[in-house]
């Protein structure tokens, strides 16, 4: 009797392991990166990269190859279905790491083609979006040295740029929140292919307004400044500035500093007249990492540098503010603060029109605290 009981339990095990939803790796093709472009006829050109390992000839060593498959369709889902028929195994986007968006498509409502990712429970929401200058498919088709897979290359490069405060850690989940919020916008990396199409490089941050790419982007230096104003800093944040004006172009005229510590104050105030002012104050403690001029030992030099750098960086900050306001991209979330602290004023605002008109006043204060192991 007891034996029968155990037998029944064992039988149960056989039946309980449901096989409806098993999803074996061997049957699926994992897309690691995808690119989406808008064709001139209004259709979507979608491509995905599938890394595969094949058994090499006699030696039996594994070989990495990357397969890029593209399809033209009306929606991303349709494109994925078309790709499905072209590849072995089913299309699986659950390991997607990079989402490349062509410039033309980014200028449309990107929420429309992201919908499929948000709706499907299997999507990896940690995938990182990026805007590509021109066509994104050119980037995904890039042949890299050593046959490296494109998503790996891009993720690695973004990771190192994140340490340098050039790129932020936005993923498709975090941009979703900002995209739908009227008081916030987001910026994502802007990637450009080199002229000879052998390398790609991040050229800064693409500024979005709501769900559309504004068509403008911040440069690398401006991106660093922008992140500091957003109160985000990677491991390093470096600036090279001209501090000595001499008629001869020379390395001697420049200083490179790294932000060691920072404090940011962002204050939004609504005046009685209804005027909106935002003050951003940055207090940066810097480390000199390159200064061929070598006069740091003298007493007057450091205060002088502090002042010059403060002036230079405030100028830089003003340019950034001007650019994001021109792009109508409220990346600093000033609108959100008005909703939070001045809800009545917000109701009367038309943020679309009013944001570029508000006063955002940045000020940067630099203090050099160290200068490496030489004076």
């Amino acid at each position: 009797m007891k034996g029968l009981k155990y037998l029944l339990v064992l039988l149960c095990l056989l039946f309980l392991s449901g096989c409806w939803d098993q999803n074996p790796l061997k049957d699926s093709s994992l897309a690691m990166a995808s690119s989406s472009d808008l064709r001139s006829d209004g259709k979507l050109l979608y491509a995905a990269s599938f890394p595969r390992s094949t058994q090499g000839g006699k030696g039996g060593s594994q070989q990495q190859i990357v397969e890029i498959v593209s399809a033209t369709a009306n929606t991303p889902r349709e494109a994925q279905m078309k790709i499905d028929s072209k590849i072995s195994g089913t299309f699986d986007s659950s390991k997607l790491r990079v989402l490349l968006i062509g410039e033309a498509l980014a200028k449309q409502d990107i929420n429309l083609f992201l919908d499929v990712l948000y709706r499907n429970p299997k999507t990896a929401l940690s995938a990182r979006p990026a805007v590509v200058e021109g066509m994104a498919i050119d980037l995904i088709n890039l042949k890299l040295i050593g046959g490296e897979e494109i998503s790996k290359y891009l993720i690695n490069s973004m990771q190192s740029l994140q340490d340098l405060t050039i790129v932020n850690h936005e993923n498709i989940e975090s941009i979703f929140a900002k995209m739908l919020d009227p008081g916030q916008d987001f910026l994502i990396p802007y990637i450009k292919l080199d002229k000879n199409k052998s390398r790609a490089s991040v050229k800064g941050l693409a500024m979005f307004h709501g769900n559309k790419y504004s068509g403008k982007h911040l440069t690398v230096d401006q991106s660093i400044m922008y992140h500091l104003m957003e109160n985000e800093k990677g491991k390093m944040a470096r600036f090279t500035k001209k501090v000595i004006s001499s008629p001869r172009p020379s390395m001697n005229n420049y200083i490179t500093v790294n932000v060691k510590k920072m404090k940011r104050k962002l204050k939004v105030e609504v005046k009685k007249s209804g005027e909106i002012n935002a003050h951003i104050h940055l207090n940066l403690k810097m480390d000199v990492i390159e200064y061929p001029h070598n006069r740091l030992a003298s007493k007057e030099e450091i205060p002088k540098l502090n002042e010059m750098l403060s002036k230079e960086l405030t100028k830089e900050a003003k340019t950034v503010i001007k650019k994001i306001q021109e792009a109508n991209c409220d990346g600093l979330g000033i609108g959100r603060r008005i909703i939070a602290f001045y809800p009545n004023r917000w109701k009367k605002l038309n943020w679309e029109v009013d944001y570029p008109k508000i006063q955002i006043i940045p000020s940067v204060h630099v203090e050099i605290i160290s200068h490496g192991i030489t004076d």
Partner: protein, 365 residues
């Protein structure tokens, strides 16, 4: 009363917690947000205060009839025939709660994990587990609730990870939606907080003095209310308001967006823990409902009736299969629950005071 039917006050705490925390856990911030927007967390706190008021009413009722369950009190207070009808309604109501658990559980798994598995398989698996455990005596069921409560810690930690990307400005302006709206929001929490009504049935089986029982249910309520508030605040701060509107299961979505290198879909880890919470809710309701049926038939033990009650619950659950009917069913269950579970005990208590009826001859230990 047989000794294995009694539980300690500590077990009571966990029994209540586990009955309350279950299906509505994942969608609570969404349902509240639909009404009281960024003030959803105030709504849940207020709901907690209401629960406390009702718990005191239950407790007062229980102190007047220390060894009787609600099913036994009913015929004493409102007459035999009406009493029996009400007992039936109560038992049926609790059966409906258990079907609600099955429905939510089945559909959530269908959408999030087991897309291709037939829903009846998913539901029946829970029903079998439920029957197996529900047939045991109260002490064993309560012990299971205690054991399982340690998993709440995991949920706590997983949700805590979201705070690094949280934006607390989403919670402002505070209390701007108006107190009436906030109160209305509290009503939306009904499905999530139902479960403390278990005290009506298991109250008499708790050992110790009456005061200790009140303390136990208060602790349980405090814990659940704070835990819910924590979840609501976490999701409000993580998702922007416009995003909240379109995400029906915010807690899962929030956890889904974390990935730890190897574990890409953290939500699956979460769901497997949540399934255990759901099982306890289901089992606890099953026990309460079948105790009612047993009283109705004058039987001392509930065990015999567990399979039937579970069968009815499963049948109802299998018939309700699209989003619209689920919505309707939820509305029906919560409204009926409000009347039966919340207001009727108050009336009973009043009748008991007015007619001076109470249980005599038992030591109120």
């Amino acid at each position: 009363m047989k000794s294995e039917h009694t539980i300690t006050q500590g077990q009571l705490v966990f029994y209540i917690i586990q009955t309350q925390i279950g299906i509505a856990l994942l969608s609570l911030p969404y349902t509240l947000f639909k009404v009281s927007k960024q003030d959803a967390w105030i709504s849940i706190l207020i709901a907690g205060i209401f629960v406390q008021i009702f718990l005191v009413i239950f407790w007062l009722l229980n102190s007047r009839f220390p060894t009787l369950t609600i099913y036994e009190i009913l015929p004493k207070l409102i007459g035999k025939i009406l009493g029996k009808v009400m007992v039936f309604l109560y038992a049926f109501q609790f059966t409906l709660f258990s079907s609600a658990v099955l429905i939510f559980y089945g559909h959530l798994l269908k959408i999030w994990v087991l897309e291709n598995t037939p829903i009846f398989v998913v539901i029946l698996l829970l029903v079998f587990t439920g029957v197996y455990l529900g047939k045991q005596n109260l002490r064993i069921i309560a012990r299971f609730s205690v054991f399982v409560s340690f998993f709440l810690l995991v949920l706590f930690v997983l949700v805590a990870l979201s705070f690094k990307d949280a934006n607390f400005l989403y919670l402002l302006p505070m209390a701007k939606t108006g107190w009436f709206t906030i109160l209305k929001g509290s009503k939306e929490a009904t499905l999530a907080i139902l479960g403390f009504d278990a005290y009506l049935v298991i109250g008499p089986f708790v050992q110790g003095p009456a005061k200790g029982k009140l303390k136990a249910v208060t602790i349980a309520n405090l814990f659940v209310t704070l835990f819910y508030t924590y979840l609501v605040v976490a999701s409000l701060a993580y998702f922007s308001p416009e995003e909240m509107k379109i995400i029906p299961e915010p807690i899962l979505y929030l956890i889904k967006s974390f990935s730890f290198g190897v574990v890409e879909r953290t939500d699956l880890v979460f769901i497997s823990i949540w399934m255990v919470m759901v099982t306890t809710s289901f089992v606890n309701y099953l026990y309460i409902a079948s105790t009612g049926v047993a009283t109705l038939f004058g039987q001392p033990s509930h065990s015999k009736f567990v399979p039937y009650v579970a069968g009815v619950a499963a049948l109802i659950a299998l018939f309700i299969d699209n989003r619209e009917t689920i919505k309707f069913f939820t509305k029906f269950v919560t409204n009926a629950g409000m009347v039966l579970v919340l207001f009727l005990p108050l009336i009973l208590l009043l009748i008991s005071y007015l007619t001076r009826k109470k249980e005599t001859g038992v030591k109120n230990y």
